[in-house]
Amino acid sequence: MAHTYDTRTTEVTAKIPFPQEILDKVEEITKRYPAGKQKSALLPVLHIAQKHNDGWLSIPVMDYVASLLKITSIEVYEVATFYTMYNLKPVGKYVLEVCRTGPCCTRGAEQMIEYIEKKTNCKVGENSADGLFTIKAVECLGACGYAPMLQLGDSFVEHLTEEKVDSLISELRNK
């Protein structure tokens, strides 16, 4: 179900206007649809905007996207609050999204979530104090045969074990 935008979010990042290469990409995407249907570009453009804006969508960024696509701000808000991939508050440098749905749980996903919380010193739904991690427990990511698993950016880390989590986290810390 839809999540809500917390207007109390005080720390606002808005890296706008976008640099030219992003504007070119937006332009290219809108050309995939018939004239006047540029609103269809909204979901892909929000992904690009989020990536550019430190992993989350602030209100100024959403307003800016609305102006790029020549739609109203509310049309962007209603989409951004509906889909779970859009973050509406600041996130850590690395967002670890661990699957918590049934098939993963048959292979120990819940224990893995606890272990990751412990290793990152960060609870599900929160950002770690050092700003490095955000832990999310998410619904099925389509990797049930390779469980337990997590999503990190554009890729999946599968067949998780405690050792694998250890090395992943130390690798990210040292990056």
């Binding site: 749905t101 098939p103 099925c140 389509g142 045969g145």
Partner: protein, 449 residues
């Protein structure tokens, strides 16, 4: 040994690239269709093949195609549903990761059959790395003259694009997918009008699953009649099954429809039996939405016949003693798995993924979740089990889209087949807390939100 129509070439070196794919006969169906067949002849072959929608519903593809309205001067669209989100299902992802050109080829042939000049592959946003794989394949196909203007000199034009979703299970429902592709929230539309009449931007549209589209090149190359020789009865052809849970060999397998379930679960060619020497307790054979079956009902139908991996056999006996082939998401549970906990987990999923449009689904899934949470955490009563039954019964059939049914069925089946386990939770409140896989209380609380 099942035939491999889809996955035959996945182990060929560099099959992700155009050259290797082409050397294995790739894109010949495009040449055959565009040079020697009319669009209607392609539709006719697909009709003859008996191919059924591989996303879960199992509706005959050729018939779906023949419903497409063709008003003069109005564009038509083909949209591939790659929003694979049904828990237990990861077959489309496998196909796109391993042999992306097959999907591209299928999209070209199918778009030609339907008279679409612009087609989209709508893929779930979490599969971002597959977007890159597909876009590379599309660019290669275009560079070699299989996409773009006047393909192979036939006068047929086609542009193919990949569209990313934003993380919403509901967008696997075809009208929600179209809403999402229009840049809106994924709220399913009321049908009729069906997408075949008013779909994407109110134009006639066909939405097909990845695996369905990927089956069309073989059918065009080898004819629909040949396709019907594989499989059993009305379950023609091969099906990808994504097997997961407590088995020795989780993964994606292409099977001839009609393979005995016993062989699929226990032979080393497929699942390889239950892992860690445990006993087989239950299976959800077609993705989380289909009814769970206890081991004994899985192996044999109510008439005592050996059950087969086919649309008909898996649903034999209706929901009383059967289930569904669904999407092919095959989830196996061993004796240690708690059915109440699994039902609670799935209900949390449906509650999370309900779009909120229809009250029975929006409120009902939340209510079921609360009741299941009570039962799973040793706080339930016997009346709660009946209440749960009552709620699910009132969701089913009372919503715009099938998500309501999909949320109700797993709960109904769990109570139908495992009522003693629910009662055990009521009678043994302390034990059911300690058996929760050794989890701390914090995780249990977290899981509820």
């Amino acid at each position: 040994m099942s035939k491999k129509l889809l996955l035959e070439h996945i182990n060929v070196p560099n099959i992700l690239g155009y050259e290797a794919y082409r050397s294995k006969g790739g894109y010949t169906s495009v040449e055959k269709a565009l040079k020697t067949m009319s669009p209607d002849a392609v539709v006719e072959e697909v009709k003859k093949s008996g191919l059924r929608g591989r996303g879960g519903a199992g509706f005959p593809t050729g018939m779906k195609w023949s419903f497409l309205a063709k008003p003069e001067g109005v564009p038509r669209y083909l949209v591939c549903n790659a929003d694979e989100s049904e828990p237990g299902t990861f077959k489309d992802r496998y196909l796109m990761e391993k042999i992306p050109h097959l999907l591209v080829e299928g999209m070209i042939v199918s778009s030609f059959a339907l008279g679409a000049n612009t087609s989209y592959i709508y893929i779930r946003g979490e599969y971002m790395w597959i977007v890159a794989i597909l876009e590379k394949a599309i660019a290669e196909a275009k560079a070699n003259g299989f996409l773009g203007k006047n393909i192979l000199g036939s006068g047929y034009d086609l542009e193919l694009y990949v569209q990313t979703g934003g993380g919403a299970y509901i967008c696997g429902e075809e009208t929600a997918l179209l809403e999402s592709l229009e840049g809106k929230r994924g709220n399913p539309r009321i049908k009729p009008p069906f997408p075949a009449v008013k779909g994407l931007w109110q134009c006639p549209t066909v939405v097909n699953n990845v695996e369905t589209i990927a089956a069309t090149p073989w059918i065009v190359n080898n004819t629909g009649d040949e396709y019907t020789k594989i499989g059993i009865g009305r379950s023609t052809g091969t099906k990808l099954i994504s097997a997961c849970g407590n088995i020795n060999r989780p993964g994606v397998y292409e099977i001839d429809l009609g393979l005995p379930v016993d062989e699929f679960l226990n032979s080393d060619e497929y699942c390889g039996g239950i892992a860690n020497g445990k006993k087989f307790k239950a299976v959800v054979p077609g993705g989380s939405s289909v009814p769970i079956l206890p081991a004994e009902l899985f192996y044999k139908t109510a008439n005592g016949e050996a059950r087969l991996m086919s649309y008909e056999s898996l649903s034999d006996g209706g929901f009383a003693t059967g289930s569904m082939l669904g999407s092919g998401g095959f989830i196996v549970y061993d004796e240690d798995q708690c059915i109440v906990r699994n039902t609670w987990n799935f209900t949390r999923f449906y509650n999370h993924e309900s779009c909120g449009q229809c009250s029975p689904c929006r409120e009902g899934t939340g209510w079921m979740l609360k009741v299941l949470h009570k039962l799973e955490h040793g706080l339930g009563s016997m009346e709660d089990i009946d209440l749960l039954w009552d709620i699910q019964r009132r969701i089913e059939g009372n919503t715009i889209c099938p998500l309501g049914d999909a949320a109700a069925w797993p709960v109904a089946a769990a109570i139908r087949h495992f009522r003693e386990e629910f009662e055990w939770h009521v009678k043994n409140p302390k034990e059911c807390l300690t058996r929760n896989y050794g989890l701390k209380k914090s995780t249990l609380e977290m899981s509820f939100n």
